[in-house]
């Protein structure tokens, strides 16, 4: 269990990145999320803005920054749909908060933890989306949990590949 807890100095340090990475990576996530369905069709089983939100929230270990990044990405994602603006925003705000809060307490360098965290946060985002749509807005929406499960698995796999690549861009002390 001690392996999972952030108890060493290295584990609790805040990751820093070049400013270009902060600007370009979320933008690239948004663009790819909008463009890749044209290539992959119905097999677009991942949510790149969520993966990026989780990564920066875990690395920065700041709930406020995680929330702001998640909220901004979610709002832009909402703006690209025809639905009300704020549904993805709320879901990703909460995801950013939880990821950053978890980043303070656990060892986020561990691949298994990253995998599980992405999987759980994906399902949580889907549940929040469904809650807002059906309960909060009282609007009808057909839902398929299998698709969301596939998406959660896809997010975990993408995170497993993407996180080490992004780790290379960290500013080393």
């Amino acid at each position: 269990m001690s392996v999972l807890m952030a108890n060493t100095r290295r584990d609790v340090e805040v990751h820093r990145y070049p400013i270009l990475i902060y600007a370009l990576v979320p933008l690239a996530a948004l663009v790819l999320q909008a463009w890749l369905p044209r290539v992959l069709g119905r097999y677009m089983w991942f949510d790149l803005p969520l993966v990026i939100t989780v990564y920066f929230a875990l690395g920065r270990r700041s709930p406020v920054q995680g929330m702001l990044l998640g909220g901004a990405l979610g709002l832009f994602q909402d703006a690209l749909t025809h639905n009300a603006i704020g549904i993805f925003g709320i879901a990703k705000t909460i995801a950013g908060f939880i990821a950053a809060s978890a980043g303070i307490r656990i060892d986020v360098e561990n691949h298994t933890i990253r995998l599980i965290l992405n999987f759980l946060l994906s399902l949580l985002c889907s549940a929040i989306y469904l809650f807002i749509y059906r309960i909060l807005l009282d609007m009808s929406l057909e839902w398929n949990w299998w698709t969301e499960l596939f998406k959660a698995v896809g997010n975990s796999i993408v995170a497993l590949i993407l996180f080490p690549q992004l780790d290379r861009t960290q500013i080393q002390d």
């Binding site: 933008l27 948004l30 663009v31 790819l32 999320q33 909008a34 463009w35 890749l36 369905p37 044209r38 290539v39 069709g41 119905r42 677009m44 949510d47 709930p63 406020v64 929330m67 702001l68 909220g71 709002l75 832009f76 994602q77 703006a79 690209l80 749909t81 025809h82 639905n83 009300a84 603006i85 704020g86 549904i87 993805f88 925003g89 709320i90 705000t93 909460i94 908060f97 809060s101 989306y129 807002i132 749509y133 909060l136 807005l137 009282d138 609007m139 009808s140 929406l141 057909e142 839902w143 398929n144 698709t147």
Partner: protein, 480 residues
């Protein structure tokens, strides 16, 4: 210490301690308020999104569009997909070890070949599209699909044409294979299209063989389905589905797809859901056509055909009228009592004019001339001034059995006739709207968005000539 200052000092640790939670709370509340502003409750009680975005929401969408569209356009125009890039990279890395120069040549040729192949494919697609566009009766604008929403919950995609190309909201988007969706939002240089397999879309459709009408919308799996139709054994997989033309978006008769599966409606026993396999490849859209105007445009040849058809029809009507006239003349010869002594003799047929000219006057016999003509006598109605409206007609001045003429009768009759004609036309329009309107059972002549109704009649079908309304200004009477 000032009590207010003391209170602030004691609250400071509270804000610092719960800063994260407070920020979370503020962000959530702000977004929930934003959501509440966008969603409205209709008179029917259902909560729905406002179809027209507010200025603030539209601004956010415009920003997002401006942020994402240029990159998508760049990716699309460079034609370097992520997959091709990755494969090209791996190939290059392997062959560089063997023979760098040779491999470079091969790679260049491969890339050129792939580009040429892609160009050729695109050329073929565009050729088909242009051929369809030329043949198609409505005015269309060709556009390229450049991006999507990126989520399953919103099946929208973006076109590289916008307001500058004449695109507007609620225009139909089609391919030569079938319908695709409708323009939902228009930006200066791009447009957002709501696909027919989205859950919030709706299109009036009709099954080709069984003529069952219904509403097409998407389901959770992204398949278009016809909902809200009564169970019908005749509906079988493989039946073609066409647009019904009553939704004010899609013209009538466009292919939608074929019936894939018929399922029982889980919520209503006697209803079924018909899953439709779309004719257009909704997952892989490249070039599409946007119908920008629904006024039919005919080529010279088509126009000539239409004129010929109209002329032939006119000749048929004239021949029919002449036939009827002959029959009435024969009847008049056999029954001389029916002849009008006051009627002028019809001119005989001449070598120049083989068909005798038929007088256009009413064959009804005229009443005998009055002994003492006054302003109420027949034929003097046109001389009556407006001051003499509604006169009291003395019964003694009306000859027995003669026509009772009402002052301003012709004017009133014209008015009534025009009103009736107007009503008749309105009725026809309403009937037409009912016939063509409403996907399936709604029968509404207006669109669901409340847009002014556009004509959905087949533009190739000529309008039937309106029948002349029989005059009712004189009472039927016998010939003395």
């Amino acid at each position: 210490m000032n009590p207010w200052l003391a209170r602030v000092v004691t609250m400071e640790p509270f804000f610092i301690r719960y800063r994260n939670l407070l920020v979370l709370l503020v962000m959530l509340v702000a977004q929930i308020v934003g959501l509440a502003v966008q969603v409205r409750r209709t008179s029917a009680g259902a909560v729905s999104l406002d179809p027209q975005d507010g200025p603030g929401v539209r601004l956010i969408r415009l920003w997002a569009n401006a942020l994402v569209t240029p990159s998508e356009r760049l990716i699309h125009s460079s034609k370097l997909g992520a997959g091709n890039l990755w494969q090209g990279y791996i190939d290059l890395r392997h062959v560089r070890d063997q023979n760098q120069d040779l491999q470079k040549t091969i790679d260049r040729l491969r890339l050129e070949q792939a580009a040429l192949l892609e160009d050729a494919r695109q050329g073929q697609r565009l050729q088909g599209l242009m051929a369809f566009q030329e043949k198609y009766i409505y005015k269309t604008v060709a556009a390229q699909a450049i991006g999507s929403s990126g989520t399953d919950q919103s099946r929208v995609f973006y076109l590289d044409k916008g307001k500058d190309a004449g695109l507007e909201r609620d225009m139909a988007v089609i391919t030569p294979d079938g319908i695709v969706g409708k323009v939902r939002d228009v930006f200066p240089h791009s447009a957002q299209v709501l696909a027919i397999n989205d859950q919030s879309s709706g299109a009036g459709v009709i099954l080709e063989t069984t003529r069952v009408r219904g509403i097409l919308r998407g389901n959770a799996a992204g398949q278009p389905q016809i909902v809200g139709i009564l169970a019908d054994q005749r509906i079988q997989p493989g039946e073609k589905v066409l647009t019904a033309g009553g939704d004010e978006i899609f013209p009538r008769g466009l292919p939608v797809g074929v019936v894939e599966k018929v399922m029982r409606d889980p919520e209503r026993d006697s209803f079924i859901d018909v899953i439709v396999k779309p004719a257009a490849h909704l997952d892989r859209l490249d070039e599409v056509l946007v119908i920008t105007a629904t006024e039919p445009r005919f080529s010279l040849e088509q126009q000539k055909d239409l004129d010929t058809s109209e002329a032939l029809k006119g000749a048929e009507v004239a021949a029919e009228a002449a036939e009827k006239k002959k029959a009435s003349e024969i009847m008049a010869e056999r029954l001389p009592g029916l002849k009008d002594p006051n009627a002028a003799a019809a001119p005989a047929a001449t070598p120049d004019n083989p068909t005798p000219v038929v007088p256009t006057v009413n064959p009804m016999p005229h009443p005998p001339p009055p002994l003492h003509a006054d302003r109420y006598s027949p034929g003097s109605a046109t001389q009556v001034t407006p001051e003499t409206t509604s006169p009291q007609i003395p019964s003694a001045t009306v000859p027995q059995g003669s026509t009772r003429t009402v002052p301003h009768a012709s004017t009133q009759d014209h008015g009534a006739g025009s009103r009736e004609t107007g009503n008749r036309e309105t009725g026809a329009r309403e009937t037409g709207a009912r016939q063509t309107g409403g996907p399936g059972t709604s029968g509404s002549g207006t669109s669901k968005l409340g847009a002014p109704a556009r004509s959905t009649a087949n533009p190739l079908t000529p309008r039937p000539a309106s029948k002349p309304k029989p005059k009712t200004d004189t009472a039927p009477q016998r010939n003395p």
